[in-house]
Symmetry: C2
Subunit: 257 residues, 2 copies
């Protein structure tokens, strides 16, 4: 196991220093990839043990096995001796998005042109949000009724996404993008913080350059837990990410009791 | 960290002693639950580092955090000093299936009556398979054309599932059930072993007694990797599992070259 110190800047943080789950996943995966000959993350599973904060952390990387076609690694981010994020990775070689899949049984989302979309920004009076500073997130207005003060009851959020700094999509960046949309719970009228408990991202191909299209969808919101299913499509209609997270929420009815 | 010895019987094994991925997940989760006050697995993510064999193994359980509403644990199954399966768990309390979800945006699969389904058995001349001995898996014939020697090209497999020994469904058993169907690749005409690389199971409710309905579906089969999305529904139409795995396959065209 290799242990190193890591600096966690506030670039991607929300408000008072809460770090972004997808960016944490990318950060851990980037560190892990330095310890394997395999170039790409294929499957990354993170459990968010406790919220890490902006500042210094300790990063452990353990190579579980370096195999011929894949490698398996374990990573841990700790602060003050306590685990904050624990992630497992399987790495290998992704197909290039120029190759044709044996089978694709789903279709890219239909989004309005970007000029008709709503840029994801933080409402006035709310703390800054690193995601909205680092990523251009252009929301399909049909799935973002909360931006106009109403609740659509939609279980899906759709958006165009591109890095503000012009970085083109790559497999590591996709880990951040897989958790970059506002929570679907906003449009359901569930207020408040929806912390990610667990997030698994399957990266399926090296993405083509250009804008990404991203969907988040909840299937079941029950007893304090909700799932968010995510697909990311590249500019050439390749499915490049399948991800799902389990998040916690507080039911509005519970708040009244 | 607590380390113990574990016996891995051939009850659930395929042929020459390859252990069943879902059963391994249940076995690790059962051991982990002994180290937390929280009663149920909410999210379990396993990376299959190398294939463990029937016999003796070493099991590590590390409690990452015991929180008020959830706990996080890490488990490892090793043999001969080498990691074979690494799994992360978040545990907590599941809603009872008698409670009503805040939102359910998907419907249970429509299956033919059980007497019209095809029992999953191993073809003559093939090795025994512990799954087909331990579980009654009654396949929807529309999704199991390979059982009659043809390939339907369906990306979905659907079945009724119940334990042969009369054990009623429970949250731990659902981890086994989430990986109990024949691979969807059979019906696509992709022959051979489809090893699971990574499997994440979200358990969403304590299941009601009775038969379970299970679906597996592939969305993208590309460059040697395929996903299998799994839903498990209980006898009272509650969605009790959402799972996804990444598996490896060899494309038929590659075998001819």
């Amino acid at each position: 196991m290799v242990t190193s110190e890591i600096e966690l800047p506030d670039t991607w943080a929300y408000g008072a220093g809460v770090l972004h789950g997808g960016w944490l996943l990318e950060t851990l995966a980037e560190a892990a990839l330095e310890h394997t000959e395999h170039p790409h993350p294929l499957a990354v599973s993170a459990h968010y043990v406790a919220a890490p904060r902006v500042g210094t952390g300790t990063l452990d990387v353990e190579v579980l096995r370096e195999g011929r076609s894949v490698s398996s690694l374990r990573t841990r981010l700790s602060q003050e001796g306590r685990p904050k994020v624990e992630a497992l990775l399987t790495c290998g070689r992704l197909p290039d998005s120029s190759t044709t899949p044996f089978l694709l049984d789903t279709a890219p989302p239909v989004l309005p042109p970007r000029e008709q979309c709503v840029r994801n920004t933080m409402p006035e009076g709310m703390p800054r949000n690193g995601i909205t500073e680092q990523l251009d997130v252009l929301l399909d207005p049909a799935t973002a009724s909360w931006t106009t003060g109403s609740f659509g009851g939609s279980t899906e959020v759709r958006a165009w996404i591109r890095a503000v700094d012009g970085r083109e999509p790559d497999p590591l960046q996709l880990l951040t993008v897989a958790d970059a949309l506002p929570p679907v719970s906003f449009d359901l009228g569930i207020p408040g913080w929806v912390p990610t408990i667990e997030l698994t991202v399957l990266v399926r191909a090296v993405p083509a350059p250009g804008w990404l299209r991203v969907t988040h969808r909840a299937r079941l919101v029950h007893g304090g837990w909700l799932d968010e299913e995510c697909e990311v499509w590249d500019s050439e209609d390749h499915l490049v990410v399948q991800a799902r997270q389990l998040a916690a929420y507080r039911e509005p009815a519970q708040e009244q009791s």
